[in-house]
Symmetry: C2
Subunit: 454 residues, 2 copies
Amino acid sequence: MTGPQLHLNLFIHDTGHHEASWRLPGADPLSHVDVGYFEELARIAEGAGFDSVFLADSPVLWGDPGRRPSGRLEPTLLLAALARATSRIGLSATASTSYNEPYNLARRLASLDHLSGGRAGWNIVTTAGDEAARNFGLDAQPAHAERYRRAAEFVDVSRKLWDSWADDAIVADKARGVHTDPGRVFPVDHLGEHSSVAGPLNVPRSPQGHPLLVQAGSSEDGKEFAARYADAVFTAQPTLEEGQAFYADVKKRAADLGRDPESVKILPGIVPVLGETEDEARALDAELDRLIVPDYAVDQLARQLRVPPERLVLDEPLPAELPGEDEIEGAKSRYTLIVTLARRENLTVRQLIGRLGGGRGHRTFTGTPLQVADTIEHWFTSGAADGFNVMPAVLPAGLRSFVDTVLPILRSRGLFRTGYETSTLRGHYGLARPGASAIPSRDGDARRPRAVSP
Amino acid sequence: MTGPQLHLNLFIHDTGHHEASWRLPGADPLSHVDVGYFEELARIAEGAGFDSVFLADSPVLWGDPGRRPSGRLEPTLLLAALARATSRIGLSATASTSYNEPYNLARRLASLDHLSGGRAGWNIVTTAGDEAARNFGLDAQPAHAERYRRAAEFVDVSRKLWDSWADDAIVADKARGVHTDPGRVFPVDHLGEHSSVAGPLNVPRSPQGHPLLVQAGSSEDGKEFAARYADAVFTAQPTLEEGQAFYADVKKRAADLGRDPESVKILPGIVPVLGETEDEARALDAELDRLIVPDYAVDQLARQLRVPPERLVLDEPLPAELPGEDEIEGAKSRYTLIVTLARRENLTVRQLIGRLGGGRGHRTFTGTPLQVADTIEHWFTSGAADGFNVMPAVLPAGLRSFVDTVLPILRSRGLFRTGYETSTLRGHYGLARPGASAIPSRDGDARRPRAVSP
């Protein structure tokens, strides 16, 4: 290979990222609970050399059940199934730090890394919204900053747990009857503000050491968190200039923390809507937007903006008076993105709904394969992206057309791999395997593992 | 088929249930983290028509890491992978009610049921031991009775969550733009002593409605719990007489609670150790026992009996003075089983260790295929078992010999299926699919789902 290579993640979302994609004639409205459908998508992406597939998640029934497929298979289980249908592509999922226990989640992620031979990734989210909190014994969500403090501690504990087995702990000495060297398995003895965890983890160290860590919030707290912890960042950037500013900001924050900026990969979301001609692409876009049911979308927008639905009028702009981001305890960066988009382009509520229905504020690239490839290259070479989070408006059709028409152009320009050169997700992203830094040397003061009664 | 049929579950445990099985020449000491190994076992069991495979679990690193393979892949993820390597066999795993959140676990189990096309089972455990508690912010385990109260509430909430989607909730009306009928998805609004959960679940109702519910504790609390909730009971019964008493006890308790006793299947554990001749079987047994390292076993026994290890002398009987079961807050029924076995047969500590090392107190059947088949039939026809939890001392060899030599005898007697007649785990066990009893009719007072902001 010559020169820097794009990294591509396929963000799988039911019948496609466009909210009305399930209404198209070919769409299977039960695909969201059909593991065979996800296997097909993962195999297409693997055949094309994508770095990874990704599944979003939230521990709550999200959105209006009438609007689009809702409820989904728990993603770490779904990825375990996909691990056996694929052999090289990375497998990432969202999991919440607010509504999981570190011991359980760190263990599931290490297990996924074993099951997949080193292809697990974790999108770390704090989970916005009071509705999720109410599934876990709380009346309302913890405050934004509080959720991020818990997330930081959660990741710290998880890393200790992943490091609680030395890579060489299993000695398998049949003659002496020693399976695992007890001096190479360590308690973590974490005692923090949000959790206390004795350890060690109950699964040996996994192929990647740690799963790939992904982060997707773009608030101040989110960017700081990304700079500190993330190997990859998913982000919604509507314009090149905003993309460049975000990219420079996160890379600088990482450098300020002593990290190599190259070790944090920035992947803006793109929603490719492709046609052989520009007109054909625009027609598909218009057909999808025509299928949006405005009532659902207005209700959702009103909830996102924290205003009563009756204040949003379809053919008028957003109300002049809206809460500021600092009043929002939920998804701060999503809120700001929506308001900025509407104000900048002076969109009516109906127009805004169309823009959000396609990619929820991510950059929609509507055009010919050549136009889309040119835009991708432009973002990549002008400091806005290390790669992209590909969010087809319609699945699997939009993935197939992206793979069949855009990728060959990118490959001919030497920007994207023709095949896998590595076998782990960290390998695909060009990232090192974390050492078990907390583990003392064999000659050092090795801690004894805790005896555990059965 | 004629007459009642045996139900057989394969309890998969690393290289076999005998603690020294990993030391045999053919054993792979890394099989416990090798999904391909589990796939092979599941395929053998499915080829033989077993009702299900089962994976035990505990959210703690259990036992001495030197002694045998320790740490394991999280079982709901492992079963998700096995779901795709098989098509008919049931897939059951242990999960703790003390160290999970109902919303998360109910969702994983429903997801496994979708992924497997209706083959998920859940062995409900409360998790004994302070060591597990210390991975979850507690200094010590909650008391035995308290753990069982939480377990009961946990199962109640889980059932409400599994019923929070009507079977016909998804209408997929593309023309009107209504994916799911919002009037057929319900909050659960559970507010209890141990949890409050708003609901609805974020996954549509699964093929079985509820996963098969399994229970394996044999204390008073455990039997009462089994009678109330369990579809199947795994139990350690060392003698036929004890097996008959346990069987009659649980069936009566179920009847007293208004349940059909036939709807609770009792499966004692058996550890088959097979040889073409009795001598050959005994030689295999002795070889395995010779490979046990006494130090590990004495330490474990001392922890189980809550005595200092120095009070256990290898060639002497157990000390006369031991705590009573009512002083044990951990695994009460396991404690009593061990003490009863040692006292009844006047075993030395060394002999007791040999018996426990093979099957941890489960009934070891050492003999020819005919002898083992006769014993199975005898237990089955004399009111001690509806089937068996098969725990081969050595895997996969002990499974293969059981399948190749014992099952043909049982089939020739009309006691075991020659092939699957149903496609779900409940179907294999002859159990009904639970109705969504909490769901009001379409004409009734259907509750509206909670609106959820994204």
